[in-house]
Amino acid sequence: MSGGSFSVDRELCRGSGLCQVMGPALFGRTESGYPAADSGELRDEGSVALADEVADCCPTGAIAVYRDDGDASPR
């Protein structure tokens, strides 16, 4: 089992709220629509897979996901 981390580019983020709906446990729920955290740890494979899904669906490409084994997936 391997984890990773994610980061949010605040310049690109427009607060679409998609990440908070798809992955509230990772990105948090805020009043603004912008994610609560600029970055965070992904403790297991399930979290990495979910973060990957969210990053792929983000309309502004603001989320990057990094795996502990070194494979980054920013687009």
């Binding site: 679409s16 709220g17 998609l18 908070q20 798809m22 899904e53 669906c57 502004t60």
Partner: protein, 407 residues
């Protein structure tokens, strides 16, 4: 329901001329308003406060999949989007996990990098259309400018022939009527859009190009890819979501700036204000009056009102974007407005997939018009401006202007 209310009933001809009076009254006095939808006389609710609209759009108990969750009254009235066609399973009207899969595949063809690469093509289309308009002197922003730009860009990006646009606009009008008498035409409209999409997909399979349809034909996520029906539904959804919306938005934005000449001058003088101006114009008078129908999957309470399972709900984007509880002085156009997280492009799972393209195209088309014609003015009485009578889209019918260069 008091007799003192001074606003027009929802979805009446007066409402379409000025929805803000009605929506403002509802937001203040009846924020989760129960009413009967004119098509099919269906019992429905409309939410108008910013917080409640966002809640409805973000809460998974408000499903976009009305074909699955809506009550019988709603389905019997034929209000399920795309009912009976492959569009019933389109990205716009499905929930996760099906939605996640489709959205990932679609976004892989719609990356910010690819959108940036479309910029030159949009600029060329805008520049050529501006020259045509300059030659006319007086022209209709809707038909001669916004319509030409949006269909040209759409055609180039999806890879279809521009001369088919007028037929497409007709098909779109058939698919989303406001007149209850035209409901029998709805399946015809969706059928025509599916036919266009199917032809386009077949064409691009034979002769792939650099267009979005070709990219979608080849799109893959890991081992996954779109089936033929999904592919056609995806292209159909792009046509539905991406053509008339841009045209409507450019029209609303141009009128807003004509109504606020100081803001138009500010925008024309400083292109750096373009990005912020587009956000404000999306907030002030966006193209979508409401999101597509949401339907409750179980009994839900919204701001103290209990909705039974299967209830259709309209999230009024226009109303939310003018909520004084969220935006200071909301009826004022201020292209330098700070903290402008509007809902003009939606919110949550189904927020606009093409937002990056919409913003770029809007910026080039709206800013470009006022930079090219600094003296642009209305060529008809302000009171004569009318809107199509469609509950979901806010689009001006005709917006004649003159460039004032000849004077």
């Amino acid at each position: 329901m008091t007799t003192a209310q001074a606003h027009a009933p929802l979805f009446s001809p007066e409402y379409y001329r000025d929805p803000y009076a009605t929506l403002g009254w509802l937001r203040e006095h009846d924020p989760v308003h129960e009413f009967r939808f004119p098509v099919g006389d269906v019992r429905m609710w409309i939410v108008t406060r910013y917080e409640d609209v966002r809640h409805v759009l973000a809460d998974p108990r408000f499903s976009s999949e009305s074909g699955t969750w809506a009550n019988e009254e709603f389905k019997a009235a034929g209000l399920t989007t795309g009912a009976g066609s492959i569009l019933e399973k389109a990205i716009t009207v499905v929930d996760p996990p099906a939605h996640t899969r489709l959205r990932r595949l679609a976004m892989s063809a719609f990356t910010p990098r690819r959108v940036a690469a479309w910029r030159d093509s949009v600029s060329r289309t805008v520049a050529a259309t501006l020259e045509d308009c300059a030659a006319r002197g007086t022209f209709d922003v809707m038909d001669d400018y916004a319509g030409v730009v949006s269909s040209g860009v759409m055609g180039e990006i999806l890879g279809f022939e521009i001369d088919r646009h007028k037929e497409l606009v007709e098909a779109l009008a058939q698919a989303f009527p406001s007149d209850p008498a035209l409901m029998d035409q709805v399946p015809v409209g969706f059928g025509r859009i599916c036919d266009y999409a199917a032809q386009l997909v077949a064409d691009k399979r034979r002769r792939p190009g650099a267009d979005l349809t070709s990219v979608l034909v080849q799109a893959r996520e890991d081992e996954d890819r779109l089936s033929e029906d999904e592919l056609v539904a995806m292209v159909g959804a792009m046509i539905l979501a991406g053509s008339d919306t841009i045209r409507a938005f450019v029209g609303n934005a141009v009128l807003a700036l004509l109504d606020h000449p100081d803001q138009a001058r500010l925008l024309a003088s400083d292109p750096d204000l373009g990005a912020g101006a587009i956000e404000e114009l999306l907030r002030y008078d966006g193209a979508l009056s409401a999101g597509l129908f949401r339907v409750t999957t179980e009994e839900v309470e919204v701001a103290g009102t209990r909705l039974p399972a299967g209830s259709p709900v309209i999230a009024a984007l226009l109303a939310a974007n003018r909520d004084p509880a969220r935006f200071a002085d909301p009826d004022r156009l201020d292209i330098a407005r700070p903290d402008n997280r509007h809902l003009g492009l939606g919110h949550g799972l189904h927020n606009c997939l093409g937002a990056a393209l919409a913003r770029m195209e809007g910026d080039l088309a709206v800013g470009g018009l006022f930079r090219r014609f600094p003296g642009l003015e209305l060529a008809l009485d302000r009171a004569e401006i009318g809107y199509i009578e469609n509950w979901a889209m806010r689009r001006i019918v005709r917006l004649p202007v003159r460039t004032a260069a000849a004077v």
